[in-house]
Subunit: 148 residues, 2 copies
DNA sequence: CGTCAGTAGTTGCGATGTCAACTATTGTTG
DNA sequence: CAACAATAGTTGACATCGCAACTACTGACG
């Protein structure tokens, strides 16, 4: 039914590769993170950003913009992380509308442990399947999608 | 707070590239598909598989295995597509447990139109940002993730 | 043949995420 | 400085998806 077996343009396999690689690796790695550290990738992602931030704090706004979530999505994510004791909401000095999200000591500890294991999982599911030259090529070709 | 600015192994930028490329391109392209053709990427994906299948029919099982959905997810997806008149459930001759999903004429028409536009969107958001050599490298490096 | 493990698909329930509307606060402008 | 647009974040209603339990049917084995 295809218009003779080859509809796809030249770049299509490259797109499919990106799509499937991310989906397959994520679905392999996320359950393990959940199992080992009891958190989702979204949690780890936010923990990481706070961990790397000055004083371990960021505004909701900043968290949201650097992530793949919407504002309301970030609100709910932080709700859950706060309920789990990993972050704390604080007020922003000088702007009573804003909210500052601060990582707790428990959040920091969990982040360190979870990230270490997570990197091992990623190593196995993704990194080890490509050569160093391939990693270099991927990084260069695709950096434009996150580098701003 | 990072253990001095560089925790990440060498392959990390390559992974981040894959992750962000897929997320950013999807979130750019999906709303446009929705707007132009009124369907989600999941719909288009299933339509495509049926369109390319002999007689435009596949079993639930086959649809599910070739996709990124679970069995229950595929049940619900097909529910919605059937409600929209794009596919029809039929019985499998010789196995009364099974369900055959058949694309309708309306589904075929929609697929043709939606895919054409979708490829243009992908072209713009993904393909045009890389050189042919880069596409070739990506395709070769990442084909292992979908090529079964 | 009758029993019973295995397979196909659906469904209830809960988790997660979006959109649009809302509240509260800030900033701008005549 | 009063009025009003803009910004920060939250909330309610809803869509989507996975897991585990369920139904129905098939096939293998004694």
């Amino acid at each position: 039914m295809t218009n003779d077996g080859r509809v796809d343009p030249l770049w299509f396999d490259s797109w499919r590769g990106v799509l499937f690689a991310s989906a397959r690796v994520l679905s392999a790695v996320e359950p393990r993170l959940q199992e080992h550290s009891g958190i989702s990738l979204a949690f780890l992602d936010v923990l990481g950003r706070l961990y790397d931030a000055p004083e371990g704090k960021l505004r909701m706004q900043e968290l949201q913009q650097r992530s793949l979530f919407t504002r309301s999505g970030m609100t709910r994510l932080v709700d859950r992380m706060e309920a789990a004791g990993l972050v704390r909401r604080e007020s922003v000095p000088g702007d009573r509308r804003g909210v500052l999200v601060a990582i707790t000591p428990e959040g920091s500890r969990l982040h360190e442990e979870a990230l270490a294991r997570h990197l091992l999982d990623l190593e196995q599911e993704f990194a080890s399947r490509l050569t160093p030259a391939q990693h270099k090529a991927l990084a260069e070709a695709l950096s434009q999608f996150w580098h701003e």
